[in-house]
Each structure stands twice: as C-alpha cells, then as structure tokens.
Amino acid sequence: MTRLESLIIRQIPSLRAYARLLVGERFRADDLVQDCLERAWSRLHLFRGDGDIRVWLFTIMHNLYVSDIRREQRRPAVIALAEHDELLRAPPREELRLELEYLARALSELPEEQRAAVLLVGVEDMSYEQAAAVLGIPVGTLMSRLYRGRKRLRILMSGKVEPALKRVK
C-alpha cells in the first residue's frame, strides 16, 4: 500500500463521523463516504502532492453532498448520535443520551451551510482556512456562518437540557 492510500484510508473514520452528523442516516452517510472514496481514487492524479489530503477529501465529499441535496431537495433526517450505544464499553447515562438526541435534532434544524461550518471547525478541528477551503468560501464568510450557526444551535437547545448539560463540560 502506498503512503497516499494509507493517508486516505486513515481519514475514513473522520469522513464517516462527519458525514453522519451532516446527513443523519447511517447508511446514507456511509454511501456518501463510499462515493467520496471512489471519486477520490478516480481523481487521484488531480491531487497536488503538497496539498492537504484531508481538505481535499472533505472538499470532494462536500461537493457530492451539495449536488445530492440539490438533486433530491432532501431535508436531512434526524441525526442518530445515540444509536450505536451497544458498541460502547460503558453504557452512557440516560440523560447524556437524551442530550445527544436533542442536539441531533437541533443540528438537523440548522441551515445546511451553517451546519457544515460548525462541524468542520467544531468536531473536525479544521483551521478556519481549511474549513473555508472545503466549503469553497472566503474565511470571513466561514466565520460568519460559524457564529450564526453556533448561536442558532444554542438557541435551539436552550431551555431543553441546560441543567444537565453543565455536567458535560
């Protein structure tokens, strides 16, 4: 296996997790990842050797996602964050599971573009520049979507789980 292949394979868990939070349903998310991997492989000759493979892959996936929702006009399903608890070593507290369900619902109510910004920076831990590159927008626009998205998410969540949330900190 070459290094480039290894680098791509190593990104699969991140791509899956991001896709799940972005589109909701597990199988649709994995389909998106698979499409992304196939497109990446068929276009590997277009990857600049000194580029950032992660940004490149996420950009491909984002573009596929955008054309997918444009074509089908689909609303994202409620995102199932708490769905695979059986895989966890320690079962989560019931309240944490509830918080995650609320959050998943709130996330799916965010406008598309804000959700992507919040996720790329917040969970993928991309730099603002990297996230802006993935979304194909200026950094200033990214910052603004990030700000509005986080605030909106907070408003959607306020009142629902605030007391329990404090313990998650």
Partner: protein, 257 residues
C-alpha cells in the same frame, strides 16, 4: 452584534475555540468580563461544542464497515507508484518512518486493543479534564519539585522533555490515580497559540507486550502511546497526528537517553 472597539466577532470565535494568541486572549477576556451576557453565550456554545464532540466521538470510534474498506482496497489499483512518491515531504517521511512496522494501526486506528483501552482511555480522559482548564491546568508548576515528587511516586525517573523546538513549553503536572491503584503522572505543555499537549506516564504495565508507537483516537483527541518495559507513555492532544509524531519521537528519545 455589538462589540467594543477592537474586539471583533472573529476574536470572539477564536477565543471560544482557544485559537487566540495569549496577549489577545487577555484583551478578549477583559472584554467578556465587562459583557457577562456575551461570556455566558460563549460558555453555552462551548458546552454544546463539547456535547457535539461526544456525539462525533461515538461515530468515529465505531469500526469502519467492511464494505468501505473493501471499496478502498478495490480502488487502490488506480494508484500508480509515482503518485505516492510526490507526497513524500520531509514531515510525512519522518512520520511514516516512525510507524513503519505498525501497519495495523492505519486501518485499526479507530479501535484500540482491549488491554490498552484502560491506559489510553485514562490518558485521554485526563487530557479532556485538565487540558482545557484555563485557570488551574496543573497541580504543581515548579519543575524540580514536581519531577522529584513524580519520580518518587512512580518509582522511575520522570523528566520533562524539552519540546521547545516544536514550540511547546512545559507548564507543570500532576499525579493521578488509576483504576488499579497505581499512580500515573501527567505533564502538561502549551504552545504560543494556547494549544495543550499532555504526556501521561505509568510505570506498572507489566506483562504487556512491548509496542512501538500506536495511535488511538479517543474522546475526540489523539493518543499516541508506546510501551518501554513496564513503562507506558501516552502523548495526548487535539493536534493532528502528523504534528504529534515528531513530538512523540522527542519524548521517546529523552526518556531513552
């Protein structure tokens, strides 16, 4: 959104993300002190951010479905060797040299061997608890006193390797309990941008096969760990793994010399 002269929306975002330079951070903190409603908003957003990471972590730690791995393998024929060569930058070559021979973790990085889960899990948990702590990240900051104490408790020479070349400054450390009752040491480093890195050490890992660098992603952070005799080391941070490998090499060399 109204902000005081000087403090912009971008500053506030960077502040909430811990991505502000220290001097600017102080200015924004002063601004937030004057604007408690904004401080509260940012705190609420940070709590949601932590929750979001928890949800993300759960998906990320699932085993990768076989179908995806097969899709990856099926497609790898498209790759000509020359393309791989072009990526051979110095950093990546260095990183790969370190993990050569540990091919399994590339695919298996989402799952940690069961007997290592306690070690990496505790290292990651300690990072998540103390890493973001602004006011009191360490118990003791005095280098000599701390290291003498930790060495005594762990029964091994505990040192704080110099990571200045990588931009990381030693801040201090603490003693931590483990499930088995043996003590663990945590050393904390910070760079100019306020990013944190911890070195977690235990000296009681007998009857474990010696391992070279392994990477685990746990709780949204990267844990790079290795075993040397009964001594287990884990470097934990939210840095990219490619940035952590040279740091791990530095720590490894320091303890070996």
């Amino acid at each position: 959104m109204a902000t005081a002269p000087g403090v912009t929306r971008e500053d506030l975002i960077r502040y909430a993300d811990g991505r502000l330079a220290p001097e600017r951070r102080a200015q924004v903190a002063a601004y937030l002190h004057e604007h408690p409603e904004m401080a509260e908003e940012l705190q609420a957003q940070q709590r949601l951010g932590a929750l979001l990471r928890e949800g993300y972590r759960r998906v990320r730690e699932e085993p990768v479905p076989q179908a995806l791995l097969e899709a990856a393998a099926r497609n790898s024929g498209h790759l000509s060797p020359a393309r791989g060569q072009s990526l051979r930058t110095a950093a990546i070559a260095a990183a790969t040299a370190l993990v050569a021979g540990a091919a399994g973790w590339l695919i298996g990085s989402a799952t940690v061997e069961p007997r290592w889960q306690e070690f990496t899990g505790q290292a990651a948990a300690a990072y998540r608890v103390y890493g973001p702590e602004r006011d009191r990240p360490v118990e003791i900051a005095a280098r000599e006193e701390l290291l003498a104490w930790l060495s005594r408790r762990l029964g091994m020479p505990v040192l704080a390797p110099q990571l200045d070349d990588f931009g990381f400054r030693f801040v201090g450390g603490r003693l931590l309990p483990t499930a088995g009752g043996a003590p663990a040491a945590q050393l904390l480093y910070e760079n100019e941008a306020g990013r944190r890195l911890t070195l977690y050490i235990r000296s009681d890992l007998r009857n474990m096969r010696e391992i070279e660098f392994q990477l685990a992603r746990q709780g949204g952070v990267n844990v790079l760990y290795w075993l040397d005799g009964p001594r287990g080391y884990a470097l934990v941070s939210d840095l990219e793994e490619s940035a952590m490998l040279p740091l791990a090499k530095g720590v490894y060399d320091a303890f070996r010399s």
